[in-house]
């Protein structure tokens, strides 16, 4: 599949570009560019490793995303994003980082850090080649990129989609360092058939499957098992008059958690799609929403259910075994000067009773009022509670979080400038109960932020100033953080260059220790060399010096980032 797809891509690109130049009615839009990012970290004293690098030392990225339009009916969009170095820290490629083993070509091309795709489209028929992130529905497939080939057809009101390929090649486990987690080669296919009347309804059946190849990694991953999963779903969305809508989806998954387990007749297979093993599970999921959307008033109720055994290769990080239901509303009133957004919901975990039942209450309220031309006020409140049974511990888990934020804003102006003064205060209280002692610890946070933004009517400079105070109090640790920052934005060189700069100073104090000092300076220079061609540069430096809260006392580091890149914006008029 890899080789075939690559061959098709290699021949398609130049063929279509050559074809394009000959034909009238040709246009091109989109962008292409190259950027370099350099990262530096200097830690003192020498040998101290208390702060880890958080970016690759050097990285070069290419992007090529033009959309060639041939007449009215044919388009050829490319989506090519490549990185010179792999930087995988989570997921199947975890461990491919600079300094580690080299990737094979197949691994490189399917690595999620790279993306090579082209989607030629003629009228209602689209061919999908390369890495595609296809979202068929919420319960079937949508979160993973698959390298392969497929199509998306929309004849009249019918919808037919199919795609097959590889979402990950086999990756051998490597003890390292750096450790490579490894992965089994996984092949995927997905299919959708449905009908849609735009703005009225859509209905579709989805089928998606993924299967690992047991012998594709040697040595195999230590903690990951070869799996196989198949999911079917029926999704429908109906849009009624006056903004009413109804959205429903039901799905069933059959998933083998470990293909090395024995096959069994005790569990029903679903052949030819999937054969049962002792680790095969079969469960259901459903989601539904009903509501009304209007100009000044929205209301909706939504619910999701995931059975404990519901698992799909299209959403590898989905957490099953839960029931969520939420009521949302949005309300504009007082001549649109008052805006209220609120939601209230509950999440019940462990519907299957295979673990301890836990309940989670979630409530949010955001209330904005524009009293007059000068004054406005925003109030928000969030409540979150989580509770579970005790199990074998003396006490159950009980965590409750309450957050209240109040933000008044005052604006005034004269003939030369307008001014904005904004204050924001947030109080957060988070209680956690210890399951062994039953004691509740309280975690309190106060945050205050004052911002001043003057805007000059006759000058191009736009400065801003802000001061922040943050205080967090938990048993045995009190953290104070004071920040002052200022920013400036202005165009220069006949507005061809846009400059932005920012300075920030933080003072951090833990308990009675001597404070830590932090200074951050950053700037960006965006130079529009021509209408199509721009050069963007960003520089940032972060100096942090600890007081005596850690050993060695006075440890410090200097972190710097330099990013620069050229971007070309395709403009069809220039090519005509």
């Amino acid at each position: 599949m890899f080789n075939k797809t690559i061959t098709v891509l290699i021949f398609l690109i130049p063929a279509f570009v050559l074809q394009a130049q000959k034909k009238p009615g040709f246009s091109v839009s989109g962008t292409m560019g190259v950027s370099y990012e350099g990262y530096g970290l200097d830690r003192n004293p020498s040998g101290w490793t208390g702060y880890s690098p958080r970016k690759p030392w050097n990285q070069v990225r290419f992007n090529f995303m033009p959309n060639f339009q041939f007449g009215k009916n044919f388009s050829l969009p490319f989506n090519i994003n490549l990185a010179a170095l792999p930087t995988n820290f989570a997921g199947p490629y975890s461990g491919y980082i600079p300094g580690g083993p080299k990737q094979s070509f197949k691994q490189w091309i399917a690595n999620p850090v790279n993306n090579i795709a082209v989607n030629p489209k003629y009228k209602w028929a689209e061919l999908q080649l390369g890495t595609q992130y296809l979202r068929y529905s919420e319960l079937s497939t949508g979160d993973i990129g698959v390298f392969g080939a497929g199509f998306d057809l929309k004849p009249r009101q019918y919808r037919i989609k199919f795609f097959m390929g590889t979402s990950q090649p086999g990756i051998n486990y490597f003890a390292g360092p750096p450790t490579i987690t490894g992965a089994f080669k996984r092949s995927n296919w997905m299919f959708q058939i449905g009908k849609e009347k735009e703005g009225k309804y859509d209905v579709a059946f989805n089928f998606a499957k993924g299967k690992d190849f047991i012998t594709s990694a040697a040595p195999p991953p230590l903690t990951i098992k070869p799996q196989e999963g198949f999911v079917t779903s029926l999704v429908t969305n109906i849009f009624f008059n006056k903004g009413w809508y109804l959205k429903l989806e039901g799905a069933q998954s059959i998933f083998t958690k470990d293909l090395t387990t024995s096959s069994t007749l005790l569990i029903k297979s679903f052949e030819p799609f999937i054969k049962a093993h002792t680790s095969t599970i079969r469960d259901y999921a459903g989601s539904g929403a009903i509501g009304k959307k209007g100009k000044n008033f929205d209301i909706g109720i939504s619910s999701k259910y995931f059975g404990a055994g519901f698992q799909t290769v299209g959403y590898p990080y989905l957490q099953p075994d839960r029931l969520d239901y939420t009521v949302n509303t949005k309300w504009n009133t007082w001549k649109n000067k008052m805006n209220i957004v609120a939601s209230l919901g509950q999440r019940v975990n462990n519907i299957s009773n295979t673990t301890l039942r836990a309940k989670q209450l979630i409530g949010n309220l955001n209330w904005f009022t524009q009293f007059n031309d000068k004054w406005s006020l925003n109030v928000n409140y969030n409540n979150f509670g989580f509770q579970s049974a005790s199990g074998i511990n003396p006490y159950g888990i009980k965590n409750v979080s309450n957050d209240l934020g109040i933000s008044p804003t005052y604006t005034w102006s004269n003939s030369k400038m307008s001014n904005l003064l904004s204050f924001s205060y947030n109080y957060s209280k988070y209680n956690e109960r210890d399951v062994l002692t039953g004691l509740t610890t309280s975690n309190n946070t106060h945050t205050a932020l004052l911002t001043y933004v003057p805007s000059y009517f006759t000058k191009d400079i736009t400065p801003d100033f802000s001061a922040m105070y943050f205080y967090n109090d938990v048993p045995l640790a009190k953290t104070k953080l004071a920040t002052i920052s200022s920013g400036l934005s202005m165009p220069v060189a006949k507005k061809k260059v846009q400059l932005r700069g920012q300075l920030q100073y933080n003072l951090v104090q833990l308990n009675a220790y001597k404070g830590d000092n932090n200074f951050i300076a950053s700037c960006s220079v965006d130079w529009k060399i021509t209408k199509q061609f721009s050069w963007n540069t960003y520089l940032s430096t972060n100096y942090f010096k600890y007081g005596n809260s850690i050993v060695p006392n006075g440890a410090n580091y200097l972190e710097s980032i330099c990013r620069t890149g050229f971007q070309y914006k395709f403009d069809s008029k220039k090519l005509k």
Partner: protein, 294 residues
């Protein structure tokens, strides 16, 4: 005399055949909730069959899973069970895949349906009983030995703050961002470590693509507690159009974060569910600057 010797030999042979074999069952008090995982871990279950007294005899293992009141909820189908032959002078050591072969254990009612749906039994205390029976007529050749165990699947943390798709003020976020999540349920007998990772989603990247391919800006191990205040020490400039790969156009930066739950040995706590990495369902948040909305 010949008759006496013959009778003695016959009695000896009969006694040898019906002799009790010693069995020693060792079972973790809190084994993995997913039953198929028992076979992958040598530390979960060990059955030692003492040496046969004289000659080798074929036996089968009759395994029963019971609730604490003694109700049998699952037992071996002896007709299709595997035959073992304990050898004289040598112990036979077996593990979970031999003692609890799921392809051969028939569960009852709701337990069977729970197993088919989830691969797990309902959370509760159970008893595992093992007895050796003769392969031919299933007559017991050992005493029944039982061990109790507690079964409850781990439910990984759910990320709560920042909420999914929440927009944070860049002035506040540049100084401190508070992350909160629910604890792993039920509480682990050994301390768990929550590995918090935050990834920037670059332009033209999809959310999960960024998680799987970028170096995390924050990678922090947090022991036990379910809150962390991150001081990013970074400018949120340059302000770019985040989420350009998708429909939502937001001026600012977009991040994806997740928690990986690790046991006291630093290994993923729950290797059988979902992705096998014990990664909680990731959430995204934005850091936005209203002034620079493009």
């Amino acid at each position: 005399m010949k008759q006496l010797i013959t009778i003695l030999c016959f009695v000896f042979v009969i006694q040898s055949l019906t002799a009790q074999l010693n069995v020693n069952l060792s079972l973790s008090g809190r084994p993995p909730a997913t039953l198929t995982e028992w076979g992958n871990r040598k530390d979960v279950l060990t059955l030692i069959i003492g040496p046969a007294q004289s000659q080798a005899a074929d036996v089968k293992i009759k395994t029963s899973v019971k609730t604490l009141d003694g109700t049998i909820i699952g037992s071996t189908n002896l007709n299709t069970a595997r035959i073992f032959t304990p050898q004289p002078g040598a112990s036979t050591i077996l593990n979970a895949s031999d003692v609890l072969p799921l392809e051969n254990i028939v569960f009852t009612g709701k337990y069977q349906s729970a197993l088919i749906r989830t691969g797990k039994l309902p959370a509760d205390n159970y008893m595992l009983c093992v007895q050796l029976v003769r392969a031919t007529d299933y007559a017991p050749v050992s005493a029944e030995v039982c061990k109790t165990f507690y079964l409850a699947a781990y439910q990984l943390p759910i990320l709560t703050q920042p909420a999914n798709e929440q927009e944070l003020n860049s002035k506040l976020a540049q100084s401190a961002i508070t992350f909160r999540w629910t604890p792993v349920v039920p509480s682990s007998p050994t301390p768990v470590t929550y590995r918090l990772r935050v990834f920037e989603i670059l332009e033209a990247q999809h959310d999960v693509q960024a998680l799987r391919s970028n170096q995390p800006l924050l990678d922090k191990n947090i022991l036990g507690t379910t809150q962390f205040i991150w001081q990013p020490q970074m400018s949120m400039m340059p302000y770019t159009i985040a989420d350009s790969a998708q429909k939502n156009k937001v001026s600012g930066k977009k991040f994806i974060w997740t928690i990986q739950t690790l046991d006291n040995l630093g290994q993923p706590l729950n290797q059988t569910d979902g992705n096998g990495e014990s990664l909680s369902e990731p959430k995204v948040f934005y850091v936005t600057d209203k002034k620079t909305k493009e």
